[in-house]
Symmetry: C2
Amino acid sequence: MAQLGLPTQLRINGERLQRSLLELAKIGATPKGGVCRLALSDLDQQGRTWVINQAKALGLSVSIDQIGNTFMRRAGQRSQLPPVMTGSHIDTQPTGGKYDGNYGVLAGLEVIATLNENGIETEAPIEVVFWTNEEGSRFTPVMMGSGVFAGAFSLEHAYSRTDQAGKSVQNELERIGFLGNEKIGEHSCGAYFEAHIEQGPVLEHHNITIGVVPGVMGLRWFDCVVHGFEAHAGPTPMEIRQDALYVASQLMQYVITLAKNHAPHGRGTVGMVQVFPNSRNVIPGRVQFSVDLRHPDSAVLSEMSASLQKQIDTLSAVHRMPITLEEVSYFPPCSFDLACIDAIRESSKDLGYSQMDVVSGAGHDAIYIARLAPTGMIFIPCKDGISHNEIEDARTDHLEAGANVLLHSMLRFAKPVI
Amino acid sequence: MAQLGLPTQLRINGERLQRSLLELAKIGATPKGGVCRLALSDLDQQGRTWVINQAKALGLSVSIDQIGNTFMRRAGQRSQLPPVMTGSHIDTQPTGGKYDGNYGVLAGLEVIATLNENGIETEAPIEVVFWTNEEGSRFTPVMMGSGVFAGAFSLEHAYSRTDQAGKSVQNELERIGFLGNEKIGEHSCGAYFEAHIEQGPVLEHHNITIGVVPGVMGLRWFDCVVHGFEAHAGPTPMEIRQDALYVASQLMQYVITLAKNHAPHGRGTVGMVQVFPNSRNVIPGRVQFSVDLRHPDSAVLSEMSASLQKQIDTLSAVHRMPITLEEVSYFPPCSFDLACIDAIRESSKDLGYSQMDVVSGAGHDAIYIARLAPTGMIFIPCKDGISHNEIEDARTDHLEAGANVLLHSMLRFAKPVI
């Protein structure tokens, strides 16, 4: 057996990675500089085919599973070892950018290209994967391919989902030639790394290159409805009003206070508001609004939800208005693997990049894969924290740095044979 | 010349008035017990014709002016005196009630009926009027007939207004046979009284029968827009957000505080809210909302507006978000005539009804007529303060009391010949 060691001077080719990203971004390019490549569309088919051709040119073998997840494999010296995997998704939002998802997949191929051109073999096989329908823009649920892969929901459920035109996931997979034959549950995974733009402003704000992701926040979504009494704005004195918006706006304030009380990781957002009857001179009789609470600790998240309910009970009693709070979604927090996190932290340090921990506030395929195998995520800054937008942008040096950290983190698990 | 005096025992017939109200309410009756009789519609024509027939049966002469205002006149002993007038409107909201407007017109006819059956003549002529299109539901502006009558805007402007189907006021007046030939500006008015349901909850709340209306509140309508920065609810930490709704909801609170700071007459309402992009997991980038401020004193109303602007400037500076405030409407306050107010107060006292001052928060035809002649308004309670609603309701004894006060107030001006 050959000697193992880390080739510390090894670097990926940032220009080649950038060229590759811009090339893939041509498929579904929008006039405003973004990308629209919805899951299982003709453009998704073209994108998938382009990526597979790149992989084949790098000598990788390709397998596709029943939900269209596509695995591109570089053999290891010990083929019986489960592969060290990386990847993300290449489907986009309707007005998406060039980097969300695509970066994680193409950084993986760049890692392979770097190993190839340096003649480095690894003990464990290395795989690059793109998961089907991460965005959920055309078909829900989001993170569909990784969710099925991890057993979060069934293949049948995913197959039966339809888009607005009534087309099913199963038929669309078949139509674009990505209804694979590899059975769900039969693909092993030794470890999983995912490089991704942060989709938030924290790294840029702190002028840091690498975000080490300890985990992903838990999320609770609620619908809150305040029931007041509709009345004329003119003749109704202030003291006998039942103004639903007056109480609702106090709760909107409280959601923010609640998050700030659980700094630095607490998040609270009211994103959606509907006022009834929504007329200029009528005191609102009913206000419905959404509440989005997030925290990486499930106990704290529960505590935040309980505080919200308590505040609602208090305001309801004080103002004598019924207020309902209904939970509509819950994603528990996800903690990534300590060994993966360490690998990312150490690699980043060795490479001389500034780094900080950034808890992910958004969902990623890595959340589901973490249920099966040691998993870690690498964030790089994106311009102004903007994502899910055609103006999404990232700096070439950051893209390069993230791929270098990915390379060295994966090598710590796949073990180069020197 | 005959001796003058007040026939203190004189009372209107409450049952007859109630019957009359229910009869008129059949024209355009809705399944839920309300009335839909939009201005210048076929149903309005039927309603107008029914009222005119009632007037003719009481021996009144009828004249119609160029905007369709209809005057029903009982001669006085001194025909050269300007008439003492009363009235209101018979058009309704699309889901209106039986009493709003209709009560003022039919209470006027009941006053005439009472004078007739008691053989009481007056020095000045007495007229009952219904003004065209008070509600403004089909054609804007509201209070169109009284507005043209008082010269608040021109006949040409009113004629040119169209409904959603493109039909003009002029053509519709002509079609229903109410494009009269009496020229605007040629109808004299000695004094004007209007009886109306309160359309608010104050009288009922205080268990009072008669509201003496010293005036009508001034009103300022604004559109306020808070410009924040749209971002993902998950990855964006609280301290670097520019959450437009967080600031907007503080302003919504302030509007209420502002009104309470100017108790008891101050009013502040946010009735309409639009959040952009209005998505559950996106921090609002922009929030637009309406502000409705009212007060009977124009100086105080200006002060309230200035305070709002100051608060906006403060919050804009603190949160570094642009906030615009645009005035979209202004109605100055209106004070009614002291002699008319006294007549109502004294009549109510002589008749033994409980009374209190209630500043009107809503607009009425009386506001415009007050520009031409001494004017006063009499309010009676309506159930739960509800109006502009099919469930609008009023008690028979209150309807009767209001008409009795109207009768005696008008007699103080028209002077009975005994």
